[in-house]
């Protein structure tokens, strides 16, 4: 589907401050179901959520706007379960990760379907052809990895999260995320070995 769904309302012209006090007020407003609060939420944390989704799904993913909407709706619907307003950003990150995981699993289940398999890529015109190819290859390999390895690996490698942050985002213990990262790295290297596009990158850092 090359149409881009965007249901998230346009951000309102509100203060973009992200300090904890603002988040506490924001969470309170969200719990009171104030529509303006939803817009503020997207305005304040939308960029962060989009970044998480981009790391996990790839910038080429044409359904990212759909997923972003799912994340926003989940946050809106589940805000009542957030007890510590200061943890809003981390909580949102978890929602984004879990939503992306659901999307990946859903696609995996239906990957053989023509209707899901022919979704065109969103090109990366700002990158050279070599990097575009590499990006596609990386995410193609990601698609072959277990989702619980892929996501922490993507966050670690592409977003530069440390172990603690990766574990928190994925809702895993530190030991679990460490173990999965090691496995993910091995798996990625194995799958990328001999890959026409990725081999030069992995060997020399560039094609």
């Amino acid at each position: 589907m090359d149409r881009i769904l965007r249901i998230v309302p346009a951000p309102a012209p509100v203060e973009a401050s992200t300090d904890a006090a603002d988040d506490e007020r924001l969470v309170a407003a969200l719990k009171q179901r104030q529509p303006q609060a939803f817009e503020t939420l997207i305005h304040r944390h939308g960029a962060h959520l989009r970044r998480v989704l981009t790391r996990v799904l790839g910038a080429h993913d044409t359904e990212q706007a759909d997923v972003m909407q799912e994340v926003a709706m989940s946050a809106w619907q589940g805000i009542g379960s957030l007890t510590d307003a200061r943890a809003l950003k981390a909580w949102l990150t978890q929602i984004a990760v879990f939503t992306a995981r659901g999307v990946i699993r859903r696609r995996r289940r239906g990957r053989w379907l023509a209707l899901l398999g022919e979704v065109p890529d969103r090109p990366l015109p700002w990158a050279g052809p070599d990097l575009q190819e590499a990006a596609r290859a990386v995410y193609a390999i990601f698609d072959r990895m277990p989702v619980d390895e892929r996501i922490p690996f993507a966050l670690r490698m592409l977003d530069g999260l440390d172990l603690e942050a990766t574990a928190q985002a994925c809702g895993m213990s530190l030991a679990t995320v460490r173990r999965r990262l090691v496995r993910a790295e091995r798996r990625f290297q194995k799958l990328a070995r001999g890959h026409e596009v990725l081999e030069p990158w992995l060997r020399e850092g560039q094609p």
Binding site: M1, D2, R3, I4, L5, R6, I7, A10, P11, A12, A16, A47, R50, R51, T54, G58, A59, A65, D66, E70, T99, G102, V103, R106, R109, G110, L113, A114, L115, L116, G117, E118, V119, P120, L124, W126, A127, G128, L131, A135, M157, L158, D159, G160, D162, L163, R178, L181, V182, A184, E185, Q189, A192, L198, W201, L202, R203, E204, G205, Q206
Partner: protein
Amino acid sequence: MPDEPRPPGEGLWRRLTEAQNVALAAEELARPDNPDSLDHPDGRVRAARIGAPSFGRPVRRVSPGRLAGAVAAVAVAAAALFLLIPRQPAGRLRVQVGSAAEEAVAAVPSLVADAQADLPLRFSDGSAVTFRAGSAGRLESLTASGSEIVLERGALTAHVVHALTTAWVVRAGPYRVRVTGTRFAVSWRAGRLDLSLFEGSVIVDGSVLGAGVPLTAGRRLTVASGVVRIEPFQAAGPPPRVAQQGRGQNDRLNDQRDGAPAPSARSTDTGEEAPRDEAPSPGGSKALALGDGPRARDALSRLAGEPGSSGAFMTDEPRSATSPTSPTSREGASEDTTGASRPGHPRSPRPGVRAARAGDESWLALAEDRHYSEALAAARRLGWSNLCRHLDAHRLLTLADVARYSGARAPARRAFESLARRFPHDRLAGDAVFSLGRMAFEAGHPAEAARWFRRYGADWPNGPLADEAAGRLVESAIRLQDTKAARAAAHAYLARAPHGAQASLARGVLTDSTDGAP
């Protein structure tokens, strides 16, 4: 941390990260009300904002000429990015409920269609939603890019005009239908959801459907008592393309947008039949009893994943085939067609038209009975090329529709091309040209699409689809990242349709390319 895994090929990850950062930053920049939200710690992203090329490519010896070329390319790409990002239209949609004015909507918490008559809602972007007689619901919200409609009981039909930022939601019970641009009918009665999708695609989620089930054109989804059924409704056929006398100009134009078929005799206003309760065709569907929760969703996915099934998830049709790129309402394009329409036929030949020299017209009879797959097979047996060479304009258009409804894009394209080539001055050729543009656009060939839309604008400047073609031309140029062409197309669009469905997009193109072009 010494025990952390070391990145394999650090250069790859770094450059990939930087490319994603640039993409994200450009997207944030493209949000007109959020111009300074580049808060990512990587300062190189800011450089990309002004088109500078220094976003962290690894050290590499390049000649000055190549470097200059790269700088120019990146700058152009960065500018083009501004055009790639969809944006929200500036103003909130307006809606007219029945014959009431927009202001009445807020004062009416619930919309209840009279037991004897439908209640149409017409939106300023050309979209239309009709609550069927006896149905009730409400307009939950109205934004710049769409609306959220709640169907409390009964049935509604919707034709949502596609634009880049289209965002509509229809809620029925615990289910949510997310829409970008499509035509569908949905009913919610006694805990039973029934959704028939005529054009485009939607995602339906909620309750046993979990995070979402994609539904493509030609499919019908029913959920009742934990049983999910998805089936093709091709056997019954989509609402036939027949002209309807007495419909307003707006209705006709709405139908023409996105190729909405004209209504059948039993339909009203927006032209779709409400979902019917007839039993699905034997073997044409899959059903599964589901509860809630992960097991149910797994079961649902198994339903989707069983090879060899003829269920709705089990299509071997190409994606595009399940998204008919219906060109237009032909009745608007041809007086002859209007006078010759017959229910159950996608486009009936006018009476008295000589039989095709191809002889056997069994395919036509099958098409009249809406057995499109069989009609396609019968036509192929006669030789598709032969038919394309000899059929008259009306039959050619019918032939193209038969192929399109059967999901055979290539034969459909050949039939449309034959019509456009052999009858270049026939008004039906305009439909064919527009259809070819749509098909090319949806197949990911914007350059070809632009050529067809340009031709439509040149040859039928006052045709019923001229505005739509002009808008599609803007979208094609954006897809091509052709700033100059996009600006020209945007100017042309605004000149002819300053309040059209793509006016916001066109204004955004002009604004962005003025601000962001190198």
